[in-house]
Every structure is written in C-alpha cells, then in structure tokens.
C-alpha cells in the first residue's frame, strides 16, 4: 500500500517534470504553470485564513504588490530573478503595514477591513501613474526565446510550489502552528495559556504575504503584462478563499486539491458552450453562480471541504469492512 503510494507520487512527479520537455509551449505546460501558481496562492492564504482562522478578503494586495514590485524593479534595470525574493519581501512588509491595525479586529470585523484594504490598494495602484502606469498597466520586455523562457518559469513555479508546501507542512507541525490553531479556536483561551496572539497572527500574515507576493512576481514575469484591474482585482481575492474552502480549509492538502480543481473548472468547464433547447450560452457567463452554489453546498454539507469528505468516506468504508469481518467470523 505504501509502496503503491510512493510509485503513484513518483509517477506524477516525473510526468510533471517531463511536460515542458515533451510538449514545450503546449497548453498543458501553461495549465501546469497556472495550477502551480494557484497552489501557492491557496496554500499561502491558508496560513492566515485556515491555520490562524483570520479570513482575509484582501489577499490580492500581496499578489498585486508582488507583481508590481517585480515589474517596476525589472523595468528599472534590477536583474529579473533578483526581483522575485524582493517582491516577496515587499509584499510581506506591506502586510505588516495593514496587518498591524487590522489584526486587532476579530472575526468578521477583520474580514470586512481586509476588503477595504484590497480596494484601497487597487485605487492607489490605479492613481500612482508615475510608478504603476495607471489603468494602462505595465508591459514587460518580451524575452528572445519565449518557449525556453516559459518552460523555465514552469519549473520555477513548480519549485516554489514545493517550497510553499514544505513551509505549510512545517508550520502545521510546529509550536508556531499549534499557537495558530489555538488562536483560531479561541483567541482568549489561547492568550490565557500564554500565546501572544497578536504577534502570531502578524507572523502568519507576513509568511502568507511573502508566498503570495512570490506568486504575483512569477505571474508578472510569465504574462509580461500587468494592470491594476487584474492583479489587484477583488475576484482574485475571492479565488484565494474559494480554493482552500473547496479543498478543505485549515488542512495541509486541502488547499492543493482545491487549487487543482479550481484551475480545471476555470479552464475547462468555464470555456464550454452549451446548446440547450435551442438556447446557446457560454458557461463563463455563469461562473459566479457556479462558485456561489459550490460554496453554499460545501459550507452546508461538508465545511471541511473535499478533504473532510474523503475522510468521511474512508471512515464509512473501514467501518463497513469491520462489520463484514465480524459477520464472516460469526458465520
């Protein structure tokens, strides 16, 4: 059983590594990059929204700040790859700036404040035209060998995804993570047991902002064009919440699963055109409806997402097997 699992894992790994070699510049490579990117976002959001229980609707600011930091520095002659860690650091520092006041709020009050932070930042990016190019956005130089370039970013995104997963796994098993879980479940009780709740929430936000900032940086370099409407758009914040919720909020693998499914929904199902009873319409026109319905169903029936569902099915099966074994020995 364990050997089989490792084999499957290695198989998937080899497949992922081979995609750009076999089909350089294909659609699958592009989809792979997007999936890795979304996994980083989802895992990053989960550190604050899942582990620490502070549901942020403004995480897009980290993405946008990361993207703009890279674009602005690159256009001013800083080596391209050096801008990636800088983007993460600037995003994290921005998190410190707004987290300091906002994390004193609790529950829904914090969430509402983050919406304000997101919108304020978008407007700031829109109006600081000298720096950001305003609504027109920033266009980055096209590299000479675009196929080679994009394949490189595929691998880079893959590595950063693995890195963010390792960070998430480490947090989960550390004293830091235990403190965050305690804060999520009861902040006052956690403080009574010696947890410095505010510091822990800030640290989680910094780490989360760093990861999402890295993802924003990769996005800018991959797409080579950014504008405030996209990289600071509210819908990106909503995406970052949806993915962990679909997969299983506060778990290690849930956000990964959610991101994969989300990317597939986004890219495959949403582009379908349906022809029903003579009416032809595109599903993309209904994407908010689909996500809304999905959210309602998950929260109603399995708040722990697909990971929770899988655990439930697993329990059912093992109980059924146990019952079978008892019946057989009795008979």
């Amino acid at each position: 059983m364990r050997a089989a699992r490792i084999l499957v894992f290695l198989g998937v790994l080899i497949l992922l590594v081979l995609i750009p070699v076999v089909g350089r510049g294909t659609y699958f490579q592009h989809l792979g990059f997007l999936t890795f990117l979304f996994i980083i976002l989802s895992v990053g959001w989960n550190l604050v929204g899942g582990y620490a229980g502070q549901v942020s609707f403004g995480h897009v600011v980290f993405f946008g700040i990361g993207a703009y930091t890279t674009a602005i520095l690159w256009l001013r002659g800083i080596p391209q790859l050096l801008t990636i860690p800088l983007a993460g650091i600037v995003a994290a520092l921005y998190g410190l700036l707004w987290g300091w006041p906002c994390l004193r709020l609790r529950g829904p009050y914090f969430s509402i404040a983050t919406i304000g932070v997101g919108e304020a930042t978008r407007l700031l990016a829109l109006n600081l035209e000298n720096l950001t190019g305003g609504a027109g956005g920033l266009t980055l130089p096209t590299p000479e060998d675009i196929h080679f370039y994009l394949a490189g970013f595929y691998y880079l995104a893959f590595l950063l995804m693995v890195g963010s997963l390792l960070i998430s796994a480490w947090v989960r098993n550390s004293r830091f993570g235990l403190g965050l879980f305690a804060i999520r479940m009861d902040e006052d009780a956690a403080e009574a047991l010696g947890v410095h709740a505010f510091r822990y929430k800030i640290l989680a936000l910094l780490l989360s902002g760093f990861l999402v900032g890295l993802a924003g940086s990769l996005y800018a370099q991959y797409i080579l064009y950014i504008d405030p409407g996209t990289v600071f758009g509210f819908s990106m914040s909503v995406n970052m919440i949806l993915m962990p919720i679909i997969g299983g909020i506060g778990t290690l693998w849930g956000p990964v699963l959610g991101a994969v499914i989300f990317t597939v929904i986004q890219d495959r199902i949403m582009t379908l055109s349906l022809n029903l009873w003579g009416f032809s319409f595109k599903l993309v026109q209904f994407h908010l409806l689909v996500y809304g319905a999905l959210l309602v169903l998950i929260i109603l029936f399995e708040p722990r997402g697909l990971v929770g569902l899988a655990e439930r099915v697993h329990r059912r099966i093992s109980r059924w097997r146990q019952a079978r074994a008892v019946i057989e020995t009795a008979g």
Binding site: F181, M185, D188, A190, E191, A192, L193
Partner: protein, 245 residues
C-alpha cells in the same frame, strides 16, 4: 512562605457600576485561598483583573512583589499565574492531548535542566489529572466533567506558580466534586498556590486555608473557614439580615 499575590485597593468600574471596589488581599505562598460571595459580588471580575483580561480602574496588583497591574493575559500567564475559565473553553477541534500541549508549549518558561519535551510533559499532566485514557479524544466529544478537568489540566501544563480556578466544581455531581477537590489538594501539594472562586460552599469550606468574602464588590470578611462561616456580616449577605445573630 511569604506573600505571593497581593492586591492593594483594587477597583474595577464598568461604566458607573463598581464591580470591584477597593479590595485589598494577600495570598500566602502554598495555600488554598477561597473567594466567595453571592451572585454578582465581583468574584469573577476580580479574577479577570488579576489575569490581565481587565485593567483595574485603580489599585495595584503585585506578584512576588513585582507590579503586574495592567499586563496582558499572555504575559501574566508566562510570569506564572494561569486562570481557568468559569465557562470552560477547550479548543474543540483539538484532541485532549493537543489542548494540553498548547499549555505546555507556551505558558511559563521552562526551568533549566528540565527536558523540554512538550508531548511528554502534556502526557504527564494528563496522567496526573486522570485524563490519560482520553488523550486522543476530540475535546468536542468530552462530557462536561471531563471538559472541566481538561480546563484544569491545560492550565496546569503551563507550569504555574499560582493557579486561579473559577468555579471548577459548578455543575458537577457530588462524587465528581469530591474527586476535583482531591485533585486540587494534590496540585497544592506540588507547591502550587491556589486561588479559587466557588459557589459550592461545602467544597470551598472543606478545602480552603483562608477565605475572602465579597459582597457588592467590597470585601466584607476574611479568615479561616470557621471564622468566615460565623461572621454575622457574611450570614446577612447570604441569608438576609433577619438571620444574622
């Protein structure tokens, strides 16, 4: 044995209402100090003021001579004063062991020479409090008596020197009450000073070395259980003036 916890003129107003008014108290190291009074007397408010949840309107609180007035709850806890909550608040989605591990991971600094193994320390506390067999149970699935016990275990895991227990036997049946009283004695025998708020008179009278009585936020009596029980002011506070001798 000296004074470990001291309050001088502790006062806490909520708006115009004095929940605690000008209360002086001294808790001796190693004793069980009972805090009683009719409903609304200000017992829990006094507790929360000591624990740092409320800052007192005026007055000071000292721990081993050090002024701790107005410090944040996590600082108070790390100094060695841990409070349990009247309404138990376990971390519901954690196992019993993990709940206690939170206390063991944070809480007071480890004394040098101790092995800093959080899991082992948490298991030790669970065995001491009689919860070891339920270590892997989710806190959400515990019964009320077990939740109360977990509340004590979790606080104990922070390695406090003073433990503030807020109504830990309320809602328990007589057998469970006796068991909890025994547990509290054992905790004291480990050298931990205990301050307890309690409504169950039998419990608090039987176990306390000294008792302080609050009424309408003011201290009306202090002394041994016998002294307090025969104090006319206390009797009138509880039973009305017509019963006073």
């Amino acid at each position: 044995m000296g004074v470990i916890l001291e309050g001088k003129g502790v006062t806490k107003y909520f708006g115009g209402l004095a929940a605690v008014h000008n209360v002086d108290f001294q808790v001796q190291e190693g004793e069980i100090f009972g805090l009683i009074g009719p409903n609304g007397a200000g017992k829990t408010t006094l507790f929360r003021t000591i624990a740092g949840i409320y800052a007192p309107t005026s007055g000071r609180i000292f721990f081993r001579g050090q002024d701790i007035t107005g410090l944040k709850p996590y600082v108070i806890c790390r100094l060695g004063i841990t409070t349990t909550h009247q309404v138990v608040r376990p971390f519901l989605e954690m196992s019993v062991l993990e709940n206690v591990m939170v206390g063991a991971s944070f809480g007071r600094e480890w004394v040098t020479g101790e092995t800093r193994d959080v899991r082992k320390e948490a298991m030790r506390v669970l065995e001491f409090t009689g919860l070891a067999s339920k270590a892997d149970v989710l806190a959400r699935n515990l019964t009320l008596p077990d939740r109360k016990r977990l509340e004590i275990a979790r606080a104990l895991a922070t390695r406090p020197t003073v433990l503030l227990l807020d109504e830990v036997v309320a809602g328990l049946n007589p057998t469970e009450t006796l068991q909890t009283m025994q547990l509290i004695r054992e905790i004291r025998d480990q050298g931990i000073t205990i301050v307890m708020v309690e409504h169950v008179m039998q419990a608090v009278m039987g176990i306390s070395d000294r008792i302080m009585v609050l009424n309408y936020g003011e201290k009306i009596a202090e002394g041994s259980p016998q002294e307090v029980a025969t104090n006319p002011q206390v009797i009138s506070a509880y039973l009305g003036t017509s019963h006073a001798l």
